[in-house]
């Protein structure tokens, strides 16, 4: 029983022995296996774990809601004395959006594209006539203002597609706060945001939750983020509670081995090595989509056998740079030099050998593989196309490659849908490796993965680099990953290269302004980090 919490207020939410089943592959699986949860008024609980741990399902269950395809098989949920398991849909609807509010992960997808933001913000409060419509709207403007949204008076009259992701996420917090709920469920609210935006949203959310003394369950897989928000933390794994403790205690002395392993992930550190022999240089590249110019005079050199990380927020031109290098987007001006020869700007003008030597691995391993091809076909295709291997030879090489990525030949006949996220990304690595490339461009390859899986993939990439002297161009917005594996770092901002150099040079002062902002925005595992950062930025 883990009823010990920080607070001493009244118990607001009490969940006992929650068990939830989910239906997939034509049978029921248990997703939550008997979890208890107690939350007092005004408390913030951090709920962390990897994907599939059941965080979201448990968070929604706290509202008495189970997604379509899920069912609550046992347990009790008492919200302020109301039994949510026994409550009818009608009774639960009266609580939802008024006394319990939900903030979803993807604000862009969770706002109705057909209605203005203000209408959606006041919708729940108006439905239950909490106050007059005019008062609700005035209150929404106040909330927009305290969440530091630009133009709080008029931003509500816009449609969701007309504001940025960070602004949408703050408006969703205002929407949740509008009826002054007793409890807010934050379901990975900053996962889709850039670090620089994340800081602002976190600060705004924390301030407003404190202002109204609202209780909250903050769901995330990011330990550093939860450390800033939560009074106490509950760790979930495979639908079971691992441990629960006040935030500071949890960070300084986790008890369970699993929690310790979560904490230690960030320990991966590859020492940087300087490289002299350049495998690829791009010089003075300007590139545009139609008339929209996205790259301005970008020059980058990549030494052989090293890892160059390109960092920057979304829209900074990282992926566009990769598209120019691969020939998918011919630049307006500038040149790409590879192994000493100038590459034709267009993909179709490049020779098969030039194509073979530059391979890509993508963020979404799911969509980068044909769902109807088996692993053997996926890895075998480049073997046949670039190297002309067929039959037994091809099969033997596929097995070789599977062994290299630490999988065995039993995977040959599997379809992508039969693999885990980490396994899928490994198959994509094997496919890139099959072409025996000089350079692999990794576009946010670990962003969609859990930390422990990320660690495995990064270790694998580093091992392959040591064995085959492969060069990586590693595109990411995750500074922790960059610190872990890169030799050199390129910082990009609004289509320009801000800074480029060895890792030790970039991540130690003096910084250009943007690098400073970017690096200081990366959450640290210190509960006081956000407070200190905001203080230092105000100063």
């Amino acid at each position: 029983m883990s009823t010990e919490t920080n607070g001493s207020g009244d118990i607001l939410l009490e969940m006992r022995d929650i068990r939830i089943d989910g239906y997939s592959d034509e049978r029921w699986h248990d997703i939550i296996k008997g979890v208890d949860l107690t939350l007092r008024r005004g408390e913030i609980m951090g709920l962390i774990g990897e994907s599939g741990a059941g965080k979201s399902t448990l968070g929604k269950a706290a509202m008495g809601y189970t997604q379509p395809g899920c069912r609550l098989t046992s347990g009790s949920i008492l919200f302020d004395g109301i039994d949510l398991v026994a409550a009818s849909d009608e009774e639960k609807r009266k609580l939802w959006g008024t006394r319990i509010a939900y903030v979803a992960q993807s604000a862009a997808a969770s706002f109705n594209p057909a209605h203005r933001l203000i209408e959606q913000t006041v919708e729940a409060a108006n439905r239950r006539s909490i106050r007059s419509d005019a008062d609700s709207r005035a209150d929404a403007v106040d909330l927009f203002r305290s969440l530091q949204l630009p133009d709080p008076e008029t931003i509500g009259s816009r449609y969701p597609h007309q504001v940025s992701g960070g602004q949408l996420q703050r408006i969703m917090t205002a929407m949740a706060m509008s009826p002054r709920p007793d409890l807010i469920i934050f379901d990975e609210p900053t996962t889709a945001l850039d670090v620089t935006t994340q800081v602002e949203v976190l600060a705004a959310m924390r301030a407003i939750v404190e202002e109204f003394d609202t209780a909250a369950i903050y769901i995330t897989h990011d330990l550093a983020v939860v450390a800033q928000m939560a009074d106490f933390i509950k760790v979930l794994r495979y639908g079971e509670e691992v441990e629960q403790a006040p935030t500071r205690q949890m960070l300084s002395q986790p008890e369970e081995a699993y929690t310790k392993s979560l904490w230690s992930v960030r320990a991966l550190q590859k020492p940087e090595i300087k490289g002299e022999d350049m495998v690829l240089t791009i010089d003075n590249i300007d590139a545009a989509y139609g008339t929209l110019k996205v790259l301005h005079d970008v020059s980058i050199s990549i030494p052989r056998g090293r890892t160059v990380a390109v960092v920057g927020e979304s829209g900074s031109g990282k992926s566009t740079t990769a598209r120019v290098i691969t020939g998918l987007l011919p630049p307006m001006s500038g040149s790409v030099t590879f192994n000493g020869e100038t590459l034709p700007p267009k993909l179709k003008d490049r020779s098969k050998d030039q194509l073979r030597r530059i391979q890509m691995i993508y963020q979404m391993a799911d969509t980068a593989m044909n769902p109807r091809h088996t692993v053997e076909e996926i890895i075998g295709r480049p073997l046949e196309f670039y190297l002309g291997l067929t039959g037994k030879e091809r099969e033997a090489r596929v097995i070789d490659l599977l062994n290299m990525i630490e999988l065995d030949e039993s995977f040959m006949d599997r379809l992508p849908s039969e693999l885990s996220g980490g396994q899928k990304q490994r198959i994509c690595i094997a496919r890139a490796l099959a072409a025996e490339p000089d350079l692999i461009i990794c576009d946010e390859v670990t962003s969609a993965l859990d930390q422990i899986v990320q660690e495995g993939i990064l270790q694998l990439l580093l091992r392959l680099q040591r064995e085959f002297n492969i060069t990586y161009l590693f595109i990411t917005h995750d500074i922790a990953t960059v610190k872990a594996i890169s030799d050199e770092i390129v910082v990009m901002f609004q289509g320009k290269v801000v800074e480029q150099g060895l890792k030790s040079e970039i991540i130690s002062p003096p910084f250009p302004d943007y690098t400073q902002l970017l690096l200081s925005s990366v959450p640290e595992m210190d509960p006081d980090w956000l407070t200190d950062l905001l203080k230092s930025r105000d100063a």
Partner: protein, 343 residues
């Protein structure tokens, strides 16, 4: 002062957006007209390729070459095809659909009528029937589609789906005869003949078109209803629908307020398609109920090789399709905030 300034800027922004939408609509309209020109050329050339011509049909096999030639000259059929096409397009542009061939013969007697006088009343009848059918069928289909989505996988949903599928899978003449059997023979509620003319009063007209309108309703409702249901259900998996649910919206609020506004574009497209069918594709129903619509007129004109009438009908059909699809496009544009309110 500042508030005033803001308002003006906002007003200007709104005007600019409105102009952008108007420009898009005008562009679509222009494209529609261009399409109509292309279609007119296709109509003309395919009619030219029809075997036989009016002179032979009227004069018979035994006519002498001279008589045929003289008659052809009189009808203007001796001129080269491109010239005839230009003549036709030119006069259509001036609002003149030409003169029907029928009523003429080689002896010089001319009892022929203007195409517009032939087509006009028939077109009006067709539009009347289509309008009555649409007024019943479209609201009915939307209602059934929305309620089927609301209670999806319930017995109601299955019954509605099965019933509409049955009516769409049955040939329309068969639906017509079944209705006649029940509503005319067994329980005489409506007349089986829908013969109307210009003098028929509105009430009488409605009474007489009841059966054909009912037949056509049964034929088109399934398609529109299923599309409405599918478009709504497709959206129900969206994160913003789950959000609405977690904000305490009831099922009917979710469907009407959160799903429907995002589903108009596909629904409008399928409604336009079915309305076009009501104008251009109902000849079988017209024949069964002896309803003097444009479909019968065109079939008769093709049989007698009355080229001006065939061309006029084909052009009207093409214009109907283009206009209705254009309307669906415009509905798609004005119900999409991304297009109506660009960033």
């Amino acid at each position: 002062m500042a508030g005033n300034g803001d308002k003006t800027v906002g007003q200007m922004g709104r005007d600019a957006r409105l102009n952008a939408v108007l420009a898009t609509i005008l562009k679509r309209l222009g494209l529609g007209l261009a399409t109509l020109f292309v279609v007119s050329a296709i109509i003309f050339s395919s009619i030219s390729m029809l075997p036989g011509d009016f002179t032979e049909a009227v004069l018979g096999q035994s006519a002498t070459t001279e008589t045929v030639a003289a008659f052809r000259k009189e009808l203007g059929l001796d001129k080269p095809a491109p010239l005839r096409y230009l003549d036709w397009v030119g006069s259509v542009l001036q609002g003149d659909l030409g003169t029907s061939f029928s009523g003429r013969n080689a002896s010089g007697q001319d009892r022929s009528r203007e195409v517009i006088d032939l087509v006009g009343p028939r077109l009006w009848n067709t539009l009347f029937l289509a309008g009555v059918t649409a007024l019943i069928a479209v609201p009915l289909a939307l209602f059934l589609g929305l309620t089927a989505a609301l209670y999806r996988n319930s017995a109601y949903d299955r019954i509605v789906n099965a019933a509409t599928l049955t009516t769409i899978s049955t040939p329309e003449f068969f639906v017509a005869y079944i209705l006649i059997l029940f509503l005319t023979s067994l329980w005489p509620v409506f007349p089986s003949l829908a013969n109307v003319d210009a003098t028929t009063e509105l009430g009488e007209r409605l009474y007489r078109v009841a059966l054909p309108a009912l037949t056509l309703t049964l034929v088109i409702v399934a398609h529109m209803m299923r599309m409405t249901r599918a478009a709504i259900i497709n959206l129900l998996a969206s994160p913003y629908i789950e959000m609405a649910r977690l904000k305490g919206a009831s099922q009917s609020e979710i469907i009407l307020k959160h799903a429907l506004p995002n589903a108009w574009a596909p629904i409008a497209t399928v409604i336009a398609f079915n309305l076009a069918y009501l104008v251009v594709g109902v000849v079988v129903v017209e024949v069964v109920f002896v309803y003097p619509g444009i479909g019968q007129l065109m079939v008769d004109a093709v049989t007698s090789r009355d080229i001006p009438v065939v061309q006029a009908c084909a052009l009207i059909f093409a214009a109907t399709y283009i206009l209705l699809n254009l309307t669906a496009d415009i509905i798609g544009i004005i119900t999409n905030p991304r297009l109506l309110h660009p960033r």
